[in-house]
Symmetry: D2
Subunit: 409 residues, 4 copies
Amino acid sequence: MAETIIKIDLSKSPYENDMIHNRWHPDIPMVAMVKPGDDFIIESYDWTGGQINNNDSADDVRDVDLSKVHFLSGPVGVEGAEPGDLLVVDILDIGAFENSQWGFNGFFSKKNGGGFLTEHFPEAQKSIWDFNGMFTKSRHVPGVEFAGLIHPGLIGTLPSKEMLDEWNTREKALYDTEPDRVPPLATLPYADTAHMGRMSGDAGKAAAAEAARTVPPREHGGNCDIKDLSRGSTVYFPVYVKNAGLSLGDLHFSQGDGEITFCGAIEMAGWTHLRVGLIKDGMKKYGIKNPIFKPSPIKPQYDDYLIFEGISVDESGKQHYLDVHIAYRQACLNAIEYLTKFGYSKAQAYAILGTAPVQGHISGVVDIPNACATLWLPTDIFEFNVKPNSEGPKKELSGDVDVPLSPDL
Amino acid sequence: MAETIIKIDLSKSPYENDMIHNRWHPDIPMVAMVKPGDDFIIESYDWTGGQINNNDSADDVRDVDLSKVHFLSGPVGVEGAEPGDLLVVDILDIGAFENSQWGFNGFFSKKNGGGFLTEHFPEAQKSIWDFNGMFTKSRHVPGVEFAGLIHPGLIGTLPSKEMLDEWNTREKALYDTEPDRVPPLATLPYADTAHMGRMSGDAGKAAAAEAARTVPPREHGGNCDIKDLSRGSTVYFPVYVKNAGLSLGDLHFSQGDGEITFCGAIEMAGWTHLRVGLIKDGMKKYGIKNPIFKPSPIKPQYDDYLIFEGISVDESGKQHYLDVHIAYRQACLNAIEYLTKFGYSKAQAYAILGTAPVQGHISGVVDIPNACATLWLPTDIFEFNVKPNSEGPKKELSGDVDVPLSPDL
Amino acid sequence: MAETIIKIDLSKSPYENDMIHNRWHPDIPMVAMVKPGDDFIIESYDWTGGQINNNDSADDVRDVDLSKVHFLSGPVGVEGAEPGDLLVVDILDIGAFENSQWGFNGFFSKKNGGGFLTEHFPEAQKSIWDFNGMFTKSRHVPGVEFAGLIHPGLIGTLPSKEMLDEWNTREKALYDTEPDRVPPLATLPYADTAHMGRMSGDAGKAAAAEAARTVPPREHGGNCDIKDLSRGSTVYFPVYVKNAGLSLGDLHFSQGDGEITFCGAIEMAGWTHLRVGLIKDGMKKYGIKNPIFKPSPIKPQYDDYLIFEGISVDESGKQHYLDVHIAYRQACLNAIEYLTKFGYSKAQAYAILGTAPVQGHISGVVDIPNACATLWLPTDIFEFNVKPNSEGPKKELSGDVDVPLSPDL
Amino acid sequence: MAETIIKIDLSKSPYENDMIHNRWHPDIPMVAMVKPGDDFIIESYDWTGGQINNNDSADDVRDVDLSKVHFLSGPVGVEGAEPGDLLVVDILDIGAFENSQWGFNGFFSKKNGGGFLTEHFPEAQKSIWDFNGMFTKSRHVPGVEFAGLIHPGLIGTLPSKEMLDEWNTREKALYDTEPDRVPPLATLPYADTAHMGRMSGDAGKAAAAEAARTVPPREHGGNCDIKDLSRGSTVYFPVYVKNAGLSLGDLHFSQGDGEITFCGAIEMAGWTHLRVGLIKDGMKKYGIKNPIFKPSPIKPQYDDYLIFEGISVDESGKQHYLDVHIAYRQACLNAIEYLTKFGYSKAQAYAILGTAPVQGHISGVVDIPNACATLWLPTDIFEFNVKPNSEGPKKELSGDVDVPLSPDL
């Protein structure tokens, strides 16, 4: 069995574990060294570091402190890796811990993070998903069970100082265009809750003040939330610092394209089995700026879909110009409306779109003024038939359970 | 064999054929009536009505008159269809004409339509694609051959008067925000080049003045350019007028998600074999506003992909807020850069992304400020190995052919 | 459009067309020459040369003359091909003729050919299948519609004299072990009904007396009846004579693994679009004795199966030793029994197994004494749900139609 | 986490564990009871009960005592199950033990069990396969790595007394036709090495004398060795005794269709996570005699194959009548010959066919006298390109390692 090079204790705060960090900075020390060809296991907290519990209240989702996330395991150094190389990462397997066979999906309050459909679901809600082997179902969302497309929501390499500066500059410029916005346009460095791994003292404090937050995906990978970057796939990461510095966390048991509920996927703690390799000078050889990857040969295959279209006309009927974001929102809202005909609440339908392996395709981006996006809903995840027929839909659910909601205080 | 209810003559102008129209209006008369359960064949011009030729000059793409497109075949009336129903359309098959086994892909000049990457490819270019049975390749883009994911770029039902008014109102409002923009923000009604099918006289002129252009997708379907709405799929269209009025055209031999080259796909003339059915009162029963569809059981399956990520930081390094459009553009640019390492020109790489069955996924839309989009490039369409390895890419092409370019006049 | 190098006239007997033959012999003259890289079209009779009609009687199936089949189009010579080479054949597309959009499936009388389940279905029966674009359904087998996995049942290269002699020797030896068997153990040369293409006179008669019948698959390909050797696949054939001599026929609109009904698949006349290439000395380079092939990227994908097991204990309860033939027969009988619970007659169920893209897997061949074979029935081809559930099956068919049967005379 | 209802200790003999048995008999007592809807975990020995070690000698494979296998975990009783019901089993997941991340594949000596190609590989050989997450590779078979299609080789319900008698009668009849054969035609009851679970004393001895051996698959399931009966699939078993009595073992990390090496798959110890349900009176309702099953949505998908044909002419050139067994053997031999061109030894190639997810299709069983079988070799499991091209194969392996062989003593 491969060695577990980063271990965690779910009963302790991630701040007590110096192999964890929650900011990006070039100077965070490596917590372990591996060689090209090695395979090893890394344990990870859920992205909130244990702030969310397996119960029937959404209070913890409402009250979550989003400056503390995401708790990442690493960085792991790779011998011989130098800036300009490509770090090849085989994700050999991922799993939940034996004593923690559950995950959560939440909608954040619009006042605390929000989400893709925050105007429609402005208050905190939470569903709990139990894992049964490779499958999951939720006591809050009946009638649906599916195989997990398990993946790390967040995985990446350490940025160089130059790259970090570029990130801070461009994100601050955006933030400054509307500094009072709720939720904000960007999450800027914030030292108070920073966990800088094995950096400490004044150097740690200084770094914390400029270290990048973990929320967005960036050139090094990061919080891509790409569902297909799943166990079995191979990822090629740009290397920006000596030894690369690979960190990961934010494990998802399953997620739909877009991770539209923000909190988001079925979030879990667990372990990841990796193997690393190097392509020397690969960034230049292949012209790589962002990571690229190959999909897994062993992922859930739900091949029968019902596909919903959305165009860039918003809920008020206003026309937008080739806006895929709005088009995808409409496709999602169309799918939610459809599912209510079978007895789902809108929140349950939203939770399904956020967690199940739905696909979101950019179908048309040139036919002015409407972008066209499609939401692909796999039909085999439902215990009943959701395909249209001449008799119309049958109300399959009694409506006696719903996704718990905690109103803003 | 099913009856061909709409025939065309490629040697004549579509304006001479009264079973063709190029605007959307509720009063365009049905050109044929069918019954639920019927299957039948409809012939179609390519979307430009024959403006583009099979040669090695992009002059025709540069000089195309975009107010004339798209030439649609129909409308076909369905007995018993009433507003509020769902029209079920089985796309049983699609093909090119025996004596027209080729298609074209073009980049429009930025001064005449532009495209998704118009800032990078501002001048007209054109590639010709030959069909060999179910496969296609181009003398202008060597080293690549793939099976066609044949589909109608444009298919939809006639709008009601109320829906037409809504379209005109909202699109005019957008247009008016920047009326001098090139290309414009929207294409407004334009009577001069309108082909109103069997409407003529004063009524035809009045209708032409308000009839909707065919460029964008809308609630009735229309120019969705969804590659997966391919032969073998089943589509459920909202019905807005008595007898529904189904029209289609803009056939594509193949296209990538987004149809990023605008002209766009591999455009062809051809025939479509359809079967229709009805779900009475289906719009309300299923809560349908836009069409939904089921994918085909018989479509090209390229399962080995190389996946490129893009985030919403633009080419100048400017940060944008959750902008999937920009993120997908970056993913496309990343893929283009990658392909140049194997000897392709950027224009050839762009043409491949526009024509081959690439997927565009909305991967993350909540991780502020970066949207994350992915471009999935099927690797098996290339005659050589395009996957990364430690030795680096091999220049596989001599560079002696390129996509013809015609400079602006 | 590719040139049609072999044309046929369905209204005339194949014996009148000298580009057709129905025996294998090295001296049959090439009817056309092509070069490596060429693509071209070949028209073909159905395998019986028009003996079966589109009607509701099985008399023609009962009375068929099986010494006349299969009518093959060719041989086509390939310039530069020499014994020892591999002939690379891309099957670019296959289709039925526009005015012949139907096919047939039959069970032969046990007295005239029989079939895999001839003890269970000893008399002639026939079902007619209509083609609707890429899909087919039958007026004799309601409730089922599926996309065609179109392929040539028979395709191969001319044998050398040595190979022909080997075939004749080994098949005669088998035949002689039970010369009076009905049906016989092998079909030996039979000059009376031989069509030797462009061979005539005494040479033709002499060749006809020793030419191999077309029934079995052999080292050159031949009547493999492999459903996955479908349009879009690439086949590598051994070359035994100068210019290879490629012939094909016996087109199938669809077939299940095993072609268990013998007549067998959905048989049709039609055209095939091919492209050829050569691997010089390829037989030795790759150690090839029988053809190998790569499957198509564009074939029907029915991914939801119900899988039936069979073991090598026969219908009487007798134990056989690792006999896959008997095990597969049991799996088929199990599937037939299952389908009767939904209202199908056994003959209808048998016709479905023979025509739909069912898979037959050799699951276990070492666990003495039982071989284990599996029959994979795609569930999405049915208009109703055939999966097991706690309520039991629902009789979906009224039983008012069946597969026509013609008793032996 | 689901409860582990059967635990094992790999350091102890399976004969010491009374929740294990290695014979089928209706009177073996249930070792645990579960209810419909329950999910639970069962641990299992490898099929030999630990006779084979992780080393580089095949002595243990040569000397294995095949009368002791297979060691099964169970029987588990299901409340409410009665003869005539269908037991629904969801295989939720399967895994190797953390401290036992390896498996073995072997060829038995022809004198001790043999195998599918025992005439070609008459002596004992063994390869060891290491598990790396979801993937496996072997130090004895370089250049190949693939995802595991993990499944229980053996799973079934207890037979009734009547069924047991039928098995014994028919297998004895076969055995008696050639009682001195090596290997024998069937494995008859053998009390000496029987492990009857919780049966003991005289009753146990009497039962052992008539209990069925575990080698073949039978009506209750048993040793089907069906690779697609993998984790994620749902199986419907006939129930023959009160409480059904579900037992399983013989876990495989991966196997090709046919399990042609007999020992056979990549054999491992591990755990299985199951959920059970009932369809009352399901055998009659659905006409079920043998188990049926639905495949998994999450299994390795290798979609690019090279397909080898085989016909029923044996290695000596002798013609056999529609013998799928021989046809499949030829297809396997053809594939082995092909792989030697890339540097594999024949034993390595044979090991690949036995362990990787190759498919074996019954392609034609009616074209007298030749059956046609196909062996589908997934090409993406190789680290190099194994597809044919005009330059011929490249010797990719140095040949410095091979599959260890232990000559007969």
